[in-house]
């Protein structure tokens, strides 16, 4: 891509996409440089300086065992974004593939997929994940396994619906009459026109997955302490909320800011990719 092409592309970005992308980039960079941004360690307890309100030395205050909340929030970026990213985009890849194939091929494969999807959506997502955690025990790996087992279904559903439309269009029929094999018709021709809705949805899904991980950690079923996961930090501050509001409030705010910037990106992408609906969800 030349500089001009990049400039043209940026000119077509709606404001929400620019703002969201800028915020998100800032958050990512902050997460990358977290160890160097504050003089504190996220794990070292300072029992002499516990429950200190926000001040110049501790802009976000300290928690019940004297750890600097800002430091922990910044380190939390790494954990939450990493888990959010993996739980979104790994299932997206195979969800898209399976959904697109199911929509294109039809027949018994499609029937089987549909039944699987029906069963998967019959359970509340969080409930099923909690059940899997009950089976395998809490922890990040369990979250990955549980999400990988379930989260692809949304993408499969989306891709299947789009493919059913795309499959009847003349350019796909043309590709078939040109003698291209099914794999080429599906992946080279139809697929690029199927993925837009999933890309837009993935932004909302990213937000939901961050909410999911923090919720699980809040319930004590996700990322174990003392790791500075945002939801876990909210839970830790819960008992002190009346006297030390900052411990729970500020990590939660970090989730909101991250989620909102992702939603803004999704909203802008929906515009940019010409998807009128589902700007988020």
């Amino acid at each position: 891509m030349t500089a001009i092409a990049i400039r043209d592309e940026l000119a077509r970005w709606p404001a929400s996409l620019k703002i969201g992308a800028t915020f998100f980039l800032l958050i990512v960079v902050t997460g990358l440089f977290a160890p160097w941004l504050t003089p504190y360690d996220p794990y070292t307890q300072d029992l002499a300086g516990f429950l200190q309100p926000p001040s110049w030395r501790h802009p976000f205050g300290t928690d019940h065992v004297g750890r600097d909340v800002l430091t922990r929030v910044l380190h939390g970026i790494r954990i939450d974004l990493q888990i959010g990213f993996i739980t979104t985009y790994v299932p997206m890849t195979y969800g898209l593939l399976l959904g697109a194939l199911s929509g294109y091929l039809g027949g018994w494969f499609d029937t089987l997929m549909m039944r699987l999807l029906d069963v998967a959506v019959a359970f509340p997502f969080l409930v099923l994940i909690i059940v899997i955690i009950a089976i395998l025990g809490p922890g990040v790996h369990t979250i990955y396994i549980a999400v990988f087992l379930l989260a692809w279904t949304m993408y499969a559903r989306l891709a299947r619906a789009e493919m059913l439309v795309e499959r009847g269009k003349d350019y796909v029929l043309a590709a078939r009459t040109l003698g291209y094999p099914t794999s080429r018709v599906v992946f080279r021709h139809a697929m690029p026109n199927v993925i837009n809705s999933s890309i837009v949805f993935s932004m909302a899904d990213f937000v939901l997955n961050i909410l999911l991980v923090s919720s699980l950690s809040f319930l004590g079923l996700g990322v174990p302490p003392p790791l500075p996961e945002w939801g876990a930090m909210v839970a830790e501050g819960r008992d002190f909320i009346f006297d030390a509001w900052w411990i729970s409030t500020l990590p939660g705010l970090a989730i909101v800011v991250t989620g909102a910037s992702l939603s803004l990106i999704g909203d802008g992408l929906a515009h940019r990719l010409g998807q009128r609906q589902r700007s988020f969800l």
């Binding site: 269009k169 003349d170 350019y171 029929l173 043309a174 590709a175 078939r176 009459t177 040109l178 003698g179 291209y180 080429r184 021709h189 690029p192 026109n193």
Partner: protein, 332 residues
């Protein structure tokens, strides 16, 4: 028009049936119902001779598009046979099928959806050439340029995506893509229906030029009778899945024998500037293909219908060596 009426048969369609079945739902299963089937094409036989253009005309839902799609095998026929140059297209293995694709190509109706929106004109054409190894890799670029000039497109359009092309230009790209494989037989499914008259005339001229230059045999599908007449040596008229009349263009349009064809020809608005004072010729609407009338399928709308028409399917009557109609009472 010079009419290759007695050349050897290129394409032979024999008693072709194409059915679409709505899948049986659980309720149907529970109530023991059989599958409801739509016969889109219901026993069609048709011959297209070498270098000939046969026009296939009919109203929406008559099965003409399905028939065209069955020839290029993007719709699987239920029974019957289609053979090209004596080779049955319906029994081909996948390798032979790929070879067959080089001989039979299709041009689609909607220029807005028939091109992949994400591929430039050049990539669309080059992909065909590369995939089928029509030219050595080094010659692909030249051949793309040749194809563009063949369909009358300026070379500078090669880099454009379909969105940046007009309807007529897109239709030319669609034609170039089909011609890239150097087919001998072309199925054209409503190739000008989506275009404005002035652009339509450009494309029709191009099609006639190419037909003469490349010696193409064509099945030309359209709902517009004037277009069909302009393009075709012979014409087949379809109604509810069957060919009800077939003959030379002059026979079908000037001396239609089937009441449906007669009504169709008379229903076309004329260019003579005179306020119309005629009753509509054909009353009523096309019955649902789920519920095809017994006897002659046209009897519900036919001004000539008699008792026999409601009970017995009409015979295929020969009115001349080239002219046939499926009617109990053919003729004027």
């Amino acid at each position: 028009m010079t009419q290759p009426l007695d050349g050897d048969a290129a394409l032979v369609i024999d008693d072709l049936v194409v059915e679409y079945g709505a899948p049986r739902g659980l309720v149907d299963l529970a109530l023991g119902r059989t599958r409801r089937r739509v016969r889109a094409v219901d026993g069609v036989s048709l011959v297209v001779r070498r270098n000939e253009t046969v026009g296939l005309v009919g109203e929406s839902g008559c099965g003409k598009t399905t028939l065209g799609r069955a020839i290029v095998r993007i719709v699987e026929p239920t029974s019957g046979a289609i053979s090209l140059d004596g080779e049955n297209l319906l029994t081909l293995g996948s390798d032979e099928l790929r070879a067959m694709r080089r001989r039979v190509q299709m041009v689609f109706q909607d220029p807005y959806s028939s091109l992949n929106p994400r591929m430039s004109v050049e990539r669309t054409l080059a992909e065909v050439l590369r995939f089928h190894r029509i030219r050595p890799a080094a010659g692909v670029g030249d051949r793309v340029a040749e194809l563009l000039s063949l369909v009358g497109l300026a070379p500078e359009l090669a880099g454009r995506r379909p969105r940046a092309l007009s309807g007529g230009q897109r239709q030319r790209v669609g034609l170039a893509r089909a011609l890239a494989l150097e087919p001998t037989f072309l199925v054209l499914d409503e190739p000008v229906a989506a275009l404005d008259v002035s652009i339509q005339a450009q494309i029709l001229n191009l099609l006639r030029d190419l037909r003469d230059r490349l010696g193409l045999t064509m099945l030309f599908i359209a709902h517009e009778l004037s277009v069909i007449r302009h393009m075709s040596h012979r014409v087949a008229v379809m109604y509810l899945g069957r060919v009800v009349e077939v003959g030379t263009a002059a026979e079908v349009f000037d001396h239609p024998a089937h009441p449906y064809t007669q009504g169709l020809v008379r229903a076309i608005p004329r260019l003579t500037p005179e306020r119309r004072h005629r009753k509509p010729v054909i009353q009523g609407e096309v019955p649902s293909p789920l519920n095809i009338p017994p006897g002659c399928r046209f009897h519900t709308r036919c001004p000539k219908a008699q008792d026999i028409c409601r009970r017995i399917a009409p015979p295929d009557v020969a009115l001349s060596p080239s002219h046939r109609a499926e009617c109990h009472f053919p003729g004027p």
